[in-house]
Amino acid sequence: MRLVIADDSALVRDGLRHALQAHGHDVIATAADAEELLAVIRHAPPDVALVDIRMPPTHTTEGLRAATEIRGRNPDVAVLVLSQYVDADFALTLLRDSPAGSGYVLKDRITQLTVLLDAIERLARGETVVDPELVELLLHRPATFRRLGELTGREHDVLALVAEGLSDRAIAERLWLTQKTVETHVRHILGKLALPPDADHNRRVLAVLTYLRAG
């Protein structure tokens, strides 16, 4: 898979490139800031761009802005934002316009290579990726938690994975269920939460996240 890595830390940039190349990915370019990243992508669009959220000059959320811009300009390029912030608003900023192919995970995940590689694969398939820790935070918001009282334990688990952006098939694999059972669970969950049934699982992610965030 053709990848681009944007991170202002050479240490991380190089380490990540080695790790990903060791797993058979083709890191076609790296960038140290948002401007360079945009130029690189204009020049040679990758399948997935891994973008550190903090980059020069202000080291705050340049990466997030660049990601939104990339997604706006070139929807075929999937973007994985590597973030230091467990903030739903940042994630929703990225996902709101085009959830398919957008990912928001904690930067810690680069030290859990299997998780990172899985996220890259899913993004390349046009799925959405939301960090489990953020989903957990939202599920455990007191206000949300009360509203989810009607869900069974299993439905709760399924909802979490839906929110992370997993497809029904992936959820089925993760929970050792049949895809059909997962689909039933999802239907029940959406019914109980009064959310519209949506065949597009990326829009479904957005709806669920917005629901979890509300109130």
Binding site: G15, T60, Q84, V86, D87, F90, T111, R141
Partner: protein, 576 residues
């Protein structure tokens, strides 16, 4: 009594007095007596009434004028009735007037300049004089019959005549002795008052004092004459008596005028200086002293020179002809100086007083300006300290992310490589778990120090993010508007600390955060349904909040009745 009523009473008494005087003069003319004595008598009477009216016209002089008018009226009655031939009414009036005239005189003198008697001593003296007068004239009132007394003027008895008589001359003599004694006390009182008066006021008492001593001496002398039974100097004493009828009111009028002259301009000046802002002291001084060219020079000891109100140096060696510099303050240590027309030199006390008053005002202005400047400096330095602390927080947060965190991440990548080189998987697993914990703790620490979402997305998202992490449901009502960074930071930490307190102390089931903008102010309200009873203790989180909010130019209101939850409200200025 109001000033208007007092004036009306003075007017009525003056009219009555004039009528009595005119009647007397006309009667004397008809009786064939004419000449210098009568003319003087007539002129003095009219002039005295005019003076009383003039005093009544002065602001605050109404009561004094009334006292003068009473004395003039009693005197006129005394003079008129003394040889009104046939009427028992006239006899009664004369005897009463004659007996009370000394008391009216004493009241007038003692009440100067306010028109009121001061102290029990003065009131006792007047009461004794009234008593002596009633005893003195009481005997003839009750027992006088025509022909009973060779030297007595009236030709008929009073209305109060009892029908019997006796030799009451000893009673009269006894009361004269009392009058002489009272007269001496009166003089001593006045001397005391003259001596006690401050130097400035003594001048205003002097005309009165002179007239009083004149009158008192005459009064005592007359009593002595009567007591001794010498009739010779009586005519001369009458002349003096009449002169006094004019001189005393005149002296009072001049004294009051002098008081006003001295008090007026300075009084106005002090009032004006009280209102004067910077740069307005010199014009106020110029007006009150009556020299429009007057310049004010302030002595600056540090620089050893005079400056004007604007702080510009004044060259005192280049004062033009016809103008002089009057230094104000102790010799050799001037506090200020006035540069003025040399013709004002005669009024040095006024100049000094005015200069001192101005100096006070200037000092006041200077101190106030200094204080305001210090206060403003204090406010801005407090705001700067908070801003510096906030900047420091942002810097630390950034260092954590870009320094420590990046190194930990690099370490994590290295561990991944180790895993591929078949290192001990158990050990590796432990190391990775530790690393994940370290990264999470680092992230939480950085967020606590300064949440990036606050600077990047603003107060609303940052507060919602806080609420996401709370243990109880928190309703957040906040828009996505942005405010100045210092205000957002202050508001954010207010909410953070308040929610922290709710979690720790309130035992609340839920809480609500409302952030809105009202009248150009950002209002932050955090309320819970907990146990209430929260207080801001020194060194506590709430006190820290109050200090932070105060630095942003706002205040914090805490409502926390026990059992009724807690509401914290802060209004921050947020510019436009």
């Amino acid at each position: 009594m109001t000033a208007a009523r007092l004036r009306a009473a003075v007017l009525a008494l003056a009219a009555l007095t004039l009528a009595l005087w005119v009647t007397d003069v006309v009667r004397q003319l008809q009786g064939g007596s004419a000449g210098a004595g009568l003319v003087f008598y007539a002129v003095a009477g009219v002039a005295a009434v005019a003076v009383a009216l003039a005093v009544a016209r002065q602001r605050g002089g109404e009561r004094m004028a009334l006292v003068i008018a009473v004395w003039l009226c009693v005197s006129a009655l005394d003079d008129l009735a003394v040889d009104w031939p046939v009427s028992r009414s006239a006899t009664t009036a004369w005897m009463l007037a004659h007996g009370l005239a000394p008391s009216a005189f004493a009241v007038m003198v003692l009440a100067y300049p306010s028109g009121r008697l001061r102290g029990r001593g003065e009131r006792l003296l007047v009461a004794l004089a009234v008593l002596a007068g009633l005893v003195w004239m009481g005997a003839p009132l009750l027992f006088f019959r025509p022909g009973g007394c060779a030297t007595c003027a009236p030709r008929v008895s009073s209305w109060l005549y009892t029908g019997t008589t006796f030799d009451y001359l000893p009673v009269g003599q006894a009361s004269w002795v009392a009058f002489i004694a009272l007269g001496l006390v009166f003089v001593v009182l006045l001397v005391g008052r003259l001596r006690a008066a401050p130097p400035g006021a003594r001048v205003t008492l002097l005309p009165l004092g002179l007239a009083v001593f004149f009158a008192a001496a005459e009064f005592i002398a007359q009593r002595v004459v009567w007591l001794g039974g010498w009739a010779g100097p009586v005519a001369a004493l009458d002349w003096i008596d009449r002169a006094n009828a004019l001189l005393l009111p005149l002296a009072i009028f001049l004294g009051l005028a002098a008081i006003r002259r001295r008090r007026g301009p300075l009084g106005d000046l002090v009032v004006e200086l009280g209102r004067a802002g910077p740069g307005q002291v010199q014009p106020a001084l110029a007006r009150s002293i009556g020299d429009s060219t007057l310049e004010l020079a302030l002595w600056i000891p540090d620089r050893g020179e005079f400056v004007d109100e604007a702080g510009m140096p004044i060259d005192t060696s280049a004062i033009p002809r016809g103008r002089v510099l009057t230094a104000i303050g102790p010799p050799g240590e001037p506090v200020a100086a006035l540069i003025h027309d040399e013709r004002l030199l005669g009024q040095r006390p006024l100049l000094e007083a005015a200069g001192s008053a101005a100096r006070l005002a200037l000092e006041n202005t200077r101190l106030q300006a200094e204080l305001r400047a210090q206060l403003a400096e204090l406010r801005s330095s407090r705001a700067r300290i908070v801003e510096a602390a906030d900047a420091e927080r942002r810097r630390v947060e950034r260092d954590l992310h870009d320094g420590a965190q990046q190194r930990l991440l690099a370490l994590g990548l290295a561990l991944q490589l180790l895993r591929e080189r078949n290192a001990d998987p158990e050990l590796l697993g432990q190391a990775e778990a530790e690393l994940q914990t370290a990264l999470r703790e680092l992230r939480d620490l950085a967020r606590g120090i300064h949440p990036t979402i606050l600077t990047e997305q603003g107060l609303g998202p940052a507060v919602r993010s806080l609420a996401d992490r709370a243990a109880i449901p928190i309703t957040v009502e906040a828009g996505d508007e942005r405010y100045p960074a210092a205000i957002e930071t202050a508001a954010y930490f207010v909410v953070a600390e308040a929610l922290n307190n709710v979690a720790k102390h309130a035992a609340a089931r839920s809480a609500a955060v409302t952030i809105d903008r009202r009248n150009g102010r950002l209002r932050v309200e955090v309320s819970d349904d907990g146990c209430g009873g929260a207080v801001a203790s020194a060194g506590g989180g709430l006190q820290g909040l109050a200090d932070r909010v105060a630095a942003a130019g706002a205040s914090l209101t805490l409502t926390s009745e026990p059992g009724a939850g807690t509401t914290l409200e802060v209004e921050l200025p947020c510019g436009s």
